[in-house]
């Protein structure tokens, strides 16, 4: 009888790395031994998310009013979910006078939303790459292998 769970060698899929890549950008590749690649992915995704929230405010992530954008944004993982929770806490239930200063309008809101959505879509590519990536193939590892 075949075992229910297949090993990584049998399936060729890094399920654990894929999950880690969603939990925190770059963590999937770091867990596979590709430390430099993982750090650079983390830098890129966080740069886009931080710049997006800086430009558009926390209102750039709002699953109630920008549901379709949120589908792309949530690929960044719990970071975006935390920003969305902050939006619901600080903005959605706030009185109208306070909301007027916190909600982004026109290009600022669009660009902020776009930045975080691009971070999410790029992290989706990273997650798919982590699913099939081979362990320990970045430059640091190759140099160590050649030295030994």
């Amino acid at each position: 009888m075949m075992p229910i769970t297949k090993s990584k060698e049998q399936t060729g899929l890094n399920v654990r790395a894929t999950l880690m890549a969603w939990i925190f950008p770059g963590l999937g590749h770091i867990s596979l031994g590709q430390h430099r690649r993982g750090r650079l992915i983390c830098l890129g995704v966080l740069f886009l998310v931080v710049t997006g929230v800086l430009v558009g405010g926390i209102d750039a992530v709002d699953h109630k009013h920008d549901g379709l954008w949120f589908i792309a944004q949530v690929c960044c993982g719990p970071i975006v979910i935390a920003i969305d929770m902050a939006t619901q806490f600080f903005i959605v239930d706030a009185p109208i006078e306070k909301r007027a200063t916190l909600v982004g309008l026109s290009h600022v809101n669009e660009i902020g939303t776009l930045f975080v959505a691009m971070a999410g879509l790029m992290n989706l590519v990273v997650i798919l790459d982590a699913l099939h990536a081979k362990s320990h193939v970045d430059l640091e590892r190759r140099v160590k292998d050649q030295d030994s």
Partner: protein, 81 residues
């Protein structure tokens, strides 16, 4: 007004007239992630990132100029009675 602006909580409304310059950071961020996935040799990593950023910014700028010229010049010429 930037004086009362609370970063990350409030939107950066002061950048509203220059929103199109934000093409540069978004291209840079995408290039950092894309090249991190595709580069086998990280020795020339940052050089390739800046080359890709420049290519994306120039490409989109040229598209914008082309579409602008088409709308401002070509369409009025075609639609003249």
């Amino acid at each position: 007004m930037m004086v009362a602006w609370i970063p990350f909580l409030e939107p950066m409304n002061a950048i509203q007239p220059w929103w199109y310059f934000l093409l540069i950071p978004v291209s840079f961020g995408i290039s950092v992630i894309y090249k991190a996935l595709h580069e086998d040799n990280f020795l020339k990593y940052w050089r390739t990132v800046f080359v890709m950023t420049t290519q994306v910014v120039l490409g989109i700028s040229l598209l914008a100029v082309g579409i602008g010229l088409f709308i401002q010049i070509v369409i009025p010429l075609v639609t003249q009675p």
